[in-house]
Structures are given as C-alpha cells and as structure tokens.
C-alpha cells in the first residue's frame, strides 16, 4: 500500500473554501478536534467523498493534531476505508459463512467474468465497482449481494448478471 513516489510533493492543501471542506470542518468541530475522534472523522470524510483522497487525510490529521503517518496507518488498517475512488455504482458480494455455504464464490466468479471486473476494482468505464464484504449480517437471505445501498437476497449465479444489468439500466435512465 505504500506509494512508490514521494507524495510529500504532490499533496497540496485542499481548498478550504470548497463546500465539502467546510462541511468536514463543521464535523471536526463537532468532534471537538479530539485526536481520538480520528476514525469518526475519516468515516465522515469518506461519506462525503466516497473515498479518502490523500490531501483530505492530511487535512484531517493536521486539524486533529495527529501525525499524518498515524492517520495513514489507520486508513490502511481498516477495511472500510478506501484510498481509491469506487465505481459510480457498487456491487458488494457478501462472503460471510452463510453466504459462502450457499455459493457466494459462484456469484463473484460470474460477475468478474461477465463484467470484466476484479473484486476490489471497477469496470474500465468506472460504472460498476465490485467489492466483497466479510458479513453484512443478512445471513437469513444468503447468498446476499448489495447494489449501492439495496440488499438483494437469495441471489442465484445464473441470474446475478441480469439483475445487475437491470439495476444499472434503471439508474442510467
């Protein structure tokens, strides 16, 4: 995960007048600028940007007075945080035990093949991102897949591609 290039030269100051930075600043104020609120602050930032751009991580680190290395360490430690932008729409296949027992791997294989995408990446046109999750807790609906925020239960490998195409078509129109 360590970037090959020296990012110190590339990370600029984020524009403090942008609406998102202003919103983020309000959140940080609400958290009392406490160093122990780092994870909560990163959650808020990822909610706004969809991922965590390096300049934003730097901004949060300096506002909370923690070393950038610690902020970066926290970002890379937890699965929830992403340094890369996700797809416009995201499909997440649950790989918890119940879903595994009911064939989650078959769903992943099918989606990867039919959409030419790797788990953890996005399609070349960036329309669809594919992720896997440890367990989304919808074990009664195994195997479960989510499309953006919506949970789709008892999905069959033969049908998953069509379901996703329909969903993508619907949101595009």
């Amino acid at each position: 995960m360590i970037p090959a290039t020296n990012h110190a030269h590339q990370i600029g100051e984020p524009n403090r007048n942008s609406p998102r930075i202003k919103r983020l600043s309000t959140v940080l104020r609400g958290l009392g600028h406490k160093p122990d609120a780092l994870i909560q602050a990163l959650h808020a930032a990822q909610g706004m940007y969809g991922y965590l751009p390096l300049d934003i991580i730097h901004f949060i680190a300096s506002e909370l007075k923690v070393p950038p290395s610690r902020a970066y360490g926290v970002v890379t430690f937890y699965h929830f945080f992403s340094l890369k932008p996700k797809g416009e729409h995201n499909c997440l296949v649950c790989t918890g035990t119940a879903c595994y027992v009911k064939g989650a791997q078959g769903l992943i294989d099918r989606i990867e093949a039919d959409f030419d995408v790797r788990a953890g990446g996005t399609t070349t046109d960036n329309k669809l991102g594919l992720q896997t999750a440890r367990c989304i807790g919808a074990c009664g609906l195994a195997p479960a897949v989510t499309f953006d925020e919506e949970i789709l239960g008892k999905v069959k490998a033969d049908e998953v591609t069509q379901i996703l195409r329909d969903k993508l078509g619907k949101v595009a129109s």
């Binding site: 160093p35 937890y78 699965h79 035990t97 807790g137 919808a138 074990c139």
Partner: protein, 568 residues
Amino acid sequence: MSLQELKAIAEKANARKAAKKRRLCVCSGASCLSINAEGVLASLKKHVTDKNLAMEVEVIPSGCMGACNQGPLVLVQPESTIYQKVTPENATAIVDEHLVKSEPVQSMLLFAGTTQEATLDSRQSDFFRKQVKVVLENCGVINPEDIEDYISVGGYQALRKAVSTMSREDVIAEMKQSGLRGRGGAGYPTGLKWETVYKYVGDEKYVICNGDEGDPGAFMDRSVLEGDPHRVLEGMAIAAYAVGASKGYLYVRGEYPLAIKRLEIAIKQAKKLGLLGANLFESGVGFDVEIRIGAGAFVCGEETALIASVEGKRGLPSPRPPYPAERGLWGKPTLINNVETYANVPPIIDRGGEWYSELGMPKAAGTKVFALSGKINNTGLIEVPIGITLREVLFDIGGGIQGSGKFKAAQTGGPSGGCIPEQHLDTKMDYAALQAVGTIMGSGGLIVMDEHSCMPDVARFFTEFCMEESCGKCVPCRVGTKQMHAMLTKICTGRGTMRDLELLEELAPMVKEASLCGLGQSAPNPLLSTLRYFRDEYLAHIQEKRCPAGVCKMTSGSASVASPKETA
C-alpha cells in the same frame, strides 16, 4: 426523572395501548427491511386509515421476530398471530379479513405452505415453543424508536431500582448470584468481572459495550441493537453504576448502519428524559454514553484491540495482563462486555439473580441467542435456554435441513470455533459440553452444512478469513495463518501431500499456543476440528485427488510438480 415520573410515562403509554383493540407490529429488522418491510408498514397504515380503523388499531415498526427466512413478518397483537411473506399488496388482506371480520388469513400464517405446522398463535409453533426469550423479550414486540414503548414494558425500572435502592456491592452480588457468563464467546463470569473493575481504585473508570460482531454468520447483537436498543443502554448504565464509572462507549460495527441509527435515536430520547446524563433518578449518579463506529477489522472484537480502536488508533491487541479491568481505555480501569451480556442485566436486576440462575444449566445459567443460517429451513434468530441439545435447535426449532439435504456438520463460534458432526447432534449447547466436542459456544453464530459442503474447504475458508484479518503484530498469527492457508489451498486443489498434512498438524498447535491474542490463538480451531471429524475428506483430497463433496476444483496430475512458490 423520578420514580413517579417514570411510572407516569409507563401508565400513559399503557393507557394509549389499551385504548386500541389491536396492535400490528411490522418486523423492521435489517433482513425484513431489505425485502420491503417499509412498503408493508406504509401499506398497512394507509389501509387501516382507509377502513376507519385508526382509532382502534395501532401499526408500528418493531425489531426482529426471528423467522427471517419467512419475512417480511407482521405480528397481530393480542392474538400473537404472525403473518409471513407479507407484501404491500397482500397486506390489505390482513386488515380486511383479520381486523375487520376477525377471520385470520390462513394462507399467510407463519409456516403456511411449508412442512411445518402453521398455528394461529405463533407462540404455539415448533419454532417458538422451545425458545425462552429473556434478551429478546421485547424484540419484535415494541417500537425500538420509541422510548415510551420501552418504558411501558418496564424499561428503566431496573436502573432506577439499582441506583436508588441498591448499593454498588448489592448490584454486583446480584450479578454474581445470577450466574451470567459473558456472551461474547469466552464465557467469563460477568459478576466477577464487574467486581474486579469495582475493586480497582481510579479517579476515572469506563464501561465499553462490544458491538463489533465480526464473526461471519452472526447477527445476534445486531438484532438486539436494532430491536431493543434501550435495553443495552440500561444494562450499560447499571454496569457503570456498579463499577463506579460515569462514561461509556458503545462500539458498533460500521456495517450496521441501522443499529447505529436506532442507538442514536435511543440515546437522544434517553438524554431528553434524563435517563442518561447527570444525576439519574436524583441519586447523584451520572452516566453518559458515546457511540464509536468500527471500520471493518475483525481483530477489534478482541478487547484490547477494541480499546485501541476507541482511542482512534489502529486496532492492535496488547498483551494481557494488565487486563482492561486494571488498565484499559486511556490507562483507566475499564469494563468491557458484549451487547447480549448487557441486555441480560436489566431483567436480572429487576427479577433477581436467583430467578436467572434457575434458567439454563447449573454452571451456565440463562439463555443464549443464536443466529441460525446455512442449509436449514428456518434461518433466523432464536433464543434458547443453555443446555438445549443441538438436535432440538436444528430439527425442532430450525425445522430441519433444507430440501433433500442430509446434515453433515454445524459450525459454531465462527472462525474461532469448530464444527459438530452428526454423531454429536445430542450435544448440549453449553460452554463445557461444546468444548468437549472440540468447539466453543462462541458469540452465537450457528451455521448448518449439508453434504454439499467440503470440510477441508470450510477450513480453508476460515483460515483465509483469519489470515486476512490478522493484524500482523505477532509472528505466529501473521505467518502461521498464511502458511496454514497455503497448505490448505494445496490440499483443496489436489496438490497436497501427506507431508503437508503432517506440517499442518505440527503448525496448528504452535499458532494456537504462541499467538498474542484470541484471533491467532483460535485461528487453527476450524482446521483442527474438521481434521478431527472429517479426516477421511482430507485423505480423499490428498491421496485420491478427489473432493467427496464436489466443491473443490482439482488440478489433475499436478501433485508431483507442486511449485515451491506456493507456500511462500
């Protein structure tokens, strides 16, 4: 808030309920919500209003009722009739037939159309009959977003009783008498833990609720937090009083947005009524609680790692001792219990430790919530007295194996646990009995597998999980899980040798003994447990290059040319 005020709220809420002839609860747990329970709720509300029944019928969203596989569910009170697979369209039949004509809709009754008996009073069905609900007693019956509903069923009475009429020592004595043991998995006696924290002197102490339910296949804590959040808050407040803390943290998985939302609502409501905050029930005792959202790291379920995460750091565990009871959050004495443990506290204080100790087994009192999933008919959430047999859970409550499948094994304790094969179906679900057959009670995930599951592949699945979730701090876990996974992958692709099996059996105990925290110490369990009961399957993979369950893809003929890089 005084006792009189609390009683007044309860009376008002109960009068409001009594004024209505019926109450419809629409299950709004995450599972039912994902299949349009919200649409059902809206449709029922509209239809009740259209039929001019709004004066006598109340429609509320509730927590999980348990039979997740048959959702969305709607409960009609006072008859306790549950309807299954309700849609916004067919929901009108419940109003037209059941509410107006008092004729239950037979075709929609819970378990109609299955091999299990559908009953008018759902409590009489096989699924519910053997269950004993303590933790889940309000779940599915009250509106989790309405504090008055919680108060109307006796909520916050236990907290009042504790802070106004009992000394800290009394509370701890009551907990010790109850025999409650930690429900997070390890089963440490709760009263003893409280006493230890109470005894440490400190200017500041903390209580933490561990809601980082990371085991795949476990959704007990999520359901409790979603269905009855106030109960967890009340349990935490009582614990805080007992150990002498005034601040608490509720650590919840980031994957549970609904639980977080309901907790936020609950905390706001409780603060407004003075049930959280300074001077609870004019006792001078204060308690404040903050939510901390996890960010997806299984290791954070380990208490020292969780503390690091609450402090905003990477979730790395640290060696114990010192235990959190002595030096925990910010170096202060800290009590950590699991969600289900706290949810057991209010009824124990309310009804007494003696009452609780009579439930379950002599050395393992009470009930346990399990999340049933996998190849079983009734996937969902159940609560049973400790000591019930696995057979009763799977075949009486669970409705048996799905389709024409044959039971092969049940996995408990997630990646830290093991499997129970057919010959041990009569094992009691109890800490000691489960340990004797090579698994653990765990937090409550119970996954059923039939003959289509390959046990070496199951072991590989869990080992991969532990490998990826290893925090990397200690070598036995970081490197050991990786090597175990590499060898299991070899076996599962038909390239394994008997030497690999030998190495696995040598390595597994080392990882178990030498790892720093529970993650590594228990990571070899799925492997050891499947090896114990399904060694023939490993041998079939190695010697015959054959997967008896037909799951593993064998690379034929490559056994002799195994690449040395594979184990790197």
